[in-house]
Subunit: 342 residues, 4 copies
């Protein structure tokens, strides 16, 4: 018997990506899809690439019957997400893809997101959804908070290194390049094709990107002391893909060995041979994260590069991986599709 | 027990696409991969997006043991393909992705491909691989000839209409736009990113594209008289996707009804509601073909638009669909993945 | 002494393109720039690529002093354009880039643009701005109506042929592919990078695109009888460039000779050698239009292909070419920059 | 009277870019164009975007008569360049766009370029071509060595800071992203559209890119001590444009003031207002370099971002700027065209 699934916020890119993944999952059935402004429309009209699927019509959240539902994917904007999730029946498991339950310190939430949190009790039980590092907690959780896509990429490169104490915690720079789908389907001038194609630019320069809150929280917790990284994201003329070029002080071989050991048993995180490094094209459309390590010509410095697909491993694929764990299904179910290249 | 599969010419894009599709097929095991110049290399080095798979090392064709092999996908260039296939054991089924066995008239082959055919007896038994129209013959065949990707797209738009006699056979124009991956991984100046991106151009203008040989053969056979279409392909700054805009004389509603009826039971060919028309983005990475019909403002004329992914439905997906039939597996096995959008 | 120029609607792409062209023109000085919602901002903030120029701050139209102004470029939306232009002093020459003054028949305007015209007396004196064909009228005009960018491309391919009577007037099909900048800087979901890149689709299929009104008007006037063409535009994942593939019935050599003769003395329209055909990349950023002719394999049919940059020759470059004529300057002044490739 | 110009290596992208710029320069006449393999072809056949120009037919170098020639642009590959330049008459001034004369230390040349230098006497007189910093020497030089495009970008961000002593010389990281045209028109698998579009990757990671030789030479000379930077280039799916994100330790305001003061009188280097930062799109097709400074959230650290067009300011535009100086023409002649956006 398959599990009954609801996707809230199905008219955005992460919602559509969830539907794409569930289409061949085999163990989950979508019983309701919500979209506020597009309620009443067929999913295949909003996303014609899904038109071959037999899907529920989009509806408003308040009309959904959650009886018998096993798990809800919540792909709503932050703030909205917490307001909705606190109204869901306690019997329903939740994977939230917004930023609402990522931060354990409510003061940090308010600092980065500009308003207080309205569901602090739920926050207290939420588990941070970086699967490979919170696997057991996730399997036991009722509410899992999906990570930021940039935050996930940087953490795959750095967590084992901080844990192992093999890099200088005060000299970490994450120069990240991301495709545009991470910004969602929102109508902003800077997301127009004519504005974005054929070039590149940085944004949120100087330490203002909200995913820094996750880096701060997670890296400091691992290190047992405050860790403050530099982080500059750039927008690429591509739809999917994040590549993080991480500059660290430490011994390259030791760094490589640490990462290789950390991920050797992981299905989705691939450590490339020493000296090789990844491309976003080679993880596109998949749940894989590729990581490479190169020694710099300056003794004692190394470059760690991680790449993943922001919509899959960075968001909806991660969410499904977590849902599999929460529902007692094999962790990799529905997620082993190979990347789409070229 | 899974079927044993060999892919010849695995270092090209169609070869890699076959591996991508087989990665989650479940009923086929790749027992050998050939690549002439890259023999000895790991497939994951040639195509890093496939590095998570446990695949045979690339080898030369002559070193492959075909004992116990159920089916060979032959993704070699034309001419090479016929030379290789005629050396394969008769017990092995073959899906050829080259142009070598598409044409039944050897004079036509010589006219379009510039040299005589060296395996005319094999040609005599080959079945044209447009699955939806040759399904029974394909299921019984030993050798199936994959269609040209442009030829497939145009035929999905036109075959039922010619069969039903609802369009003027002397007034057919196919204006087609294709992504660049159809040209393969060959080193040509006009395939460089700097030459191809940010614009569009036509090629093989005036009726010189080799896929016209397939249109001529198939349309004339259906009509029982010579049918000569106009066909202009254009190269797009995109990797995957073909869209054919087909201008016909006929009643739009009748045309729509004919197509709708022809494909109503097909798993992979979707007729959009009357007046709607497809985008390559909505079939990308999938085995689906979307077809739309719009009436022109000029009475008695209509536009039929068909879109598919040249590497999947136009080539490797079609090949796998045919292989499923030839091996007695469900036709859709391994092919129901949803398109990747955005 | 340079001419005093005002640009209304300077915050759109055609406005910015005018500023780009005027930057090195030498004979015109921009004395005012208008932008309604962005009034008060520096042009270099709205368009950072123009930040090196010493330009007037953006202001509301009503605050502009038109005394001493020689010519106004009006890059406002249609309907707004007519309302504004009728308030301008009679002493000021106007080049309008909107659709408002292109159509001589007010019933046609209402049919295609959905509302009546409010400046019919101005319309009566407006000259259609396809420079090469209305050169003398334009030089003498007070008000010139810039053409549609698609309409310009199709007309360069067809006008001489209709004029010369060398093609069948009832068998004209224009299959056109355009970059996205023609749609302007407006916030629409279908103009987002994630929606538009990596694929292609048709729009306004079946004879509903407004530029058809221009084809109808102009072609019928030349022929002296109604001419109704088929026209299907497609959107490309590129910013600049239009390529029109035009299918005609007629003798290819005669068609070639006719076009070659028509444009032999034109500075901006280049007829390629017989059998060659253009690419949008090779006119990008320039005021050139390239035209090619290829005979089809079907006797008596030919393909004419025209390419230009929609923002330059299709819009702002055309506007400047016309302004040069209206102000008694050399027609090519400021417009001879070579295309930007790659 | 205009100056007589020869371009050697005109069939590559930098050669074509020189022709584009000279088309509207006014003070230079191209009297010969060389291309070895394409000798005998018209430039307009090799680069159709230049077909409107009246240009000499491509010829082999040995057939060029250098009598009366004022200046040669040499756009040949390194090694070839030195062999050719040493055969040119001493009366001819030379701007070399290759790497051959950039390095003053012949051991460094051999280390980075893998072979000894065959024109060491010419090297001794060559002036490094970063115009804004070698202006007087360039004006007096017979031979000017064009800089690497990446090397130019990094130097615009860093030279004034090193000169002023406002940053820590041991903590400089240059994370650079470049478009693909910098790699030239060479046939390499990794430059194909299908390989490059839709993603990003790093290359020459760890301090192996040859432009590091220029950073080492120039920064060490300015500082009067060895300066060793970290430098990681990335390849973008765009044709033109380089953006360098430079991480430095120092006071952001002091850094900003230093850069602002250094470039305040420069025609082509624009310092954006404090806190703003550039995009490659806004310099595309132009000779401008935009620079921005942002303070990091970590006290004492700043990010300096510089962007330019690799083919123009990074190569052929720089070459023309230098040639203007060498020939006694205004430095900005032919170079003030505005960027092409969108």
């Amino acid at each position: 018997m398959t599990k009954n699934i609801v996707i809230l916020g199905a008219s955005g890119y992460t919602g559509a990506e969830l539907v794409r993944l569930l289409a061949t999952h085999g163990g989950m059935t979508i019983v309701a899809l919500s979209a506020d402004r597009k309620a009443g429309q067929a999913m295949g009209d909003v996303f014609p690439h899904l038109r071959h699927l037999d899907l529920p019509v989009l509806q408003k959240i308040e009309t959904i019957d959650f009886a018998g539902v096993d798990l809800v994917f919540c792909a709503l904007p932050h703030a909205t997400s917490q307001a909705v999730i606190k109204t869901l029946p306690a019997s329903v498991k939740v994977v939230d893809l917004s930023a609402d339950f990522r931060l354990r310190d409510m003061a940090e939430y308010e600092k980065w997101y500009g308003k207080g949190h309205d569901a602090t009790d739920l926050q207290a039980e939420a588990v941070y959804g970086l699967t490979e590092f919170y696997r057991e907690d996730i399997a036991a959780a009722r509410l899992v908070a999906g990570t930021g896509c940039n935050a996930a990429t940087g953490q795959y490169a750095l967590r084992p290194l901080i844990e192992a104490g093999v890099i200088d915690l005060d000299q970490i720079i994450i120069d990240l390049k991301t495709g545009v789908s991470g910004a969602g389907r929102s109508l902003k001038e800077n997301l127009l094709h004519a504005e974005l194609s054929e070039g590149a630019h940085a944004y949120a320069v100087g330490g203002t990107h909200r995913h820094l809150a996750e880096f701060d929280q997670e890296f400091s917790a691992i290190a047992g002391r405050p860790v403050t990284v530099q982080f500059t994201p750039h927008l690429l003329p591509a739809n999917r893909g994040i590549i993080a070029t991480v500059y660290v002080h430490g011994d390259a071989q030791q760094i490589y060995d640490t990462l290789q050991a950390a991920y050797v048993d992981e299905a989705f995180v691939e450590t490339l041979p020493m000296g090789q490094h990844p491309s976003t094209r080679h993880v596109r459309g998949s749940n894989f994260c590729h990581i490479g390590v190169v020694a710099d010509r300056i003794e004692g410095r190394a470059i760690v590069i991680a790449a993943l697909d922001n919509l899959t491993k960075g968001s909806s694929g991660q969410a499904l991986q977590n849902a599999n764990l929460m529902l007692g299904l094999p962790e990799t179910q529905g997620l082993m599709m190979a990347p789409v290249f070229p």
